[in-house]
Symmetry: C2
Subunit: 339 residues, 2 copies
């Protein structure tokens, strides 16, 4: 079983794989294909993946058979394992726990499509609902504390299977960057009585210069202190701390927003590798007045030098105002590329 | 002039390049070669670089001419600029300052050598002294707060010029990861009255299983919560908060340690791309009882998925105990590859 270890200085938890038989490359959707060259995520290859956890299916179809629209399966080589009791131990000055958690793959469509931007808005909405459903289900498990939904697209972003998919890693601890967002926003709230993300939404909407897309319930902008060229954040305009509390009208709109942003990215920047991550509140929290869920979309256009993730010190060669102006101007046709 | 912007939630500062004429790739030693294919760092090409800041030279040789052994020049396209007054401003909820700082390149030898491990121990010692000299000089500037010495080797680690070199970026703020180390170690000190790094040195030396190299004044080990496969840390055994307070006998020894570790890396792991970073105390601090300077060496063997630097949540497929055992066993000949 993998092990979670804590850096005693900064408090960052790391997953240490202890089973040497596993592949040396982390964070992939590592479901081997049945036949050479066959895609294990395509309809008809259901038996090439572990048993499905959830699928949105057409009537009268059965689990692990054809007829699904979006399908969730366990990662064949998971970073964390769902079986067992959570055990926490010390080792001198160090702290560790066993690697209890979940690692799931969300296969976004049954046909062999390599980019989410080409999915229909309705298809993307179903993917967003699947994220919701899995978070709601997994947060019932008292051993688990945090659910991270993310997507790796392109080899430079860590993807190994091209069929469009997302992943969900659920951990018994809160990842350090989320923890720092929690603390930073709480500090602001304690001092000013407001949510800093709400303030940010307000300031971005008034100054306009970093706005990429403005719709009734969401705002997409290039953040003021963007770490990466063409980094994009998407925030709900109304305060909401937990992604899984999203409403139907919001999912409908977010599907369109996400498709639009990804089409802008592909059209304007020549379909770069990218990641997106949903930042949301830990499972064991009630509604939080200080935290605001959001989505970060990060194109992988420049190579990140090791010292950048070593020091947390980023150099961004494209000012977010220019990135936003560029992305704002790109016209996309939501219907033209629909399946 | 570049701009430093602060993320209002987590307090991370980012350098935003505002001059669009510059190249879009950050953090390189971007000194263009004079002739097609000629190396601007080789002896005889001194005029292809900006005027030197410091060089260790043979007697009776002159600045910007032949006869140097280690040479420091400004980066031609610096991430930060040394001229001007530091100006701090607000922009609504955001904070920024102008990009005052320094960005220097340390050319480690006059001949065209692409790997530091092939330099003589004496040559490496001189490089380590140059780091010392530059930090001592730059910390006199009251506008500057932190000096980061780092090295990118190989394209995967962000290097663009193969002639062996290091870089120094000096900033008017403390990088967030260093800041977190400062806070984390201070918290431990306040609670237990000891330096956590000293405790770590003690525990690693007693358990031995993560030790890679143990010499009179330094210990090299694979850290307990290694983020990356074959990550190596080097710490002085005696408490010392500032790299620039290093003593002659320590530099002599560290030169040998560094050459040994880099040879182990090259021999055992097929000369991977790697980074090293010196973590030291901010300029404006006195001797600190809670912080301990150290060096982190990070081979770039696996691709870091975007979500890893997005969340601070790392998955390491090689347990540090196995990495240390592997590296410990690799025999290297310090003399065989000396120039």
């Amino acid at each position: 079983m993998p092990e979670l270890r804590k850096d005693p200085i900064v408090g960052r938890w790391v997953i240490i794989a202890t089973d040497r038989a596993k592949r040396p490359l982390p964070i992939r959707a590592e479901i081997p294909s049945g036949e050479e060259g066959a895609c294990p995520f395509c309809e008809g290859s259901e038996s090439d993946t572990p048993q499905e956890i959830l699928a949105y299916r057409d009537r009268n179809t059965h689990p692990n058979e054809r007829g699904w629209r979006v399908r969730v399966v366990p990662n064949k080589y998971p970073a964390l394992q769902i079986e067992g009791d959570l055990q926490k131990r010390g080792e001198g000055i160090y702290d560790k726990m066993n690697g209890i958690g979940a690692h799931e793959v969300i296969v976004e469509c049954p046909f062999h499509e390599t980019t989410m931007a080409n999915l229909s808005e309705e298809n993307i909405r179903e993917v967003l609902w699947v994220y919701h459903d899995r978070l709601v289900d997994l947060k019932k498990d008292p051993r688990l504390v945090y659910g991270m939904v993310f997507k790796n697209v392109g080899a430079a972003a860590g993807a190994s299977i091209e069929h469009t998919h997302s992943q969900l890693i659920v951990t018994p601890i809160v990842p350090i960057n989320v923890w720092e967002e929690m603390l930073g926003s709480l500090e602001f709230f304690n001092y000013r009585g407001r949510c800093i993300y709400c303030d940010m939404v307000h300031q971005e909407l008034s100054t306009e210069k970093r706005i990429i897309l403005d719709t009734p319930n969401f705002v997409s902008f290039a953040p003021y202190a963007s770490r990466f060229p063409f980094e994009m954040w998407v925030l709900p305009k109304n305060h909401s701390s937990h992604y899984e509390n999203i409403q139907k009208n919001e999912v409908d709109e977010l599907g369109t927003v996400l498709k639009t942003l990804l089409l802008k990215l592909e059209t304007g920047l020549d379909a770069p590798a990218y990641n997106y991550i949903i930042h949301t509140s830990p499972f064991d929290t009630q509604l939080l007045p200080h935290y605001h869920w959001h989505m970060e979309i990060i194109p992988r256009l420049t190579r990140v030098a090791g010292f950048e993730w070593g020091t947390g010190f980023y150099i961004n060669p494209v000012p977010p105002e220019q990135a936003a102006a560029f992305l704002r101007e790109i016209r996309v046709d939501l219907d033209s590329r629909r399946h």
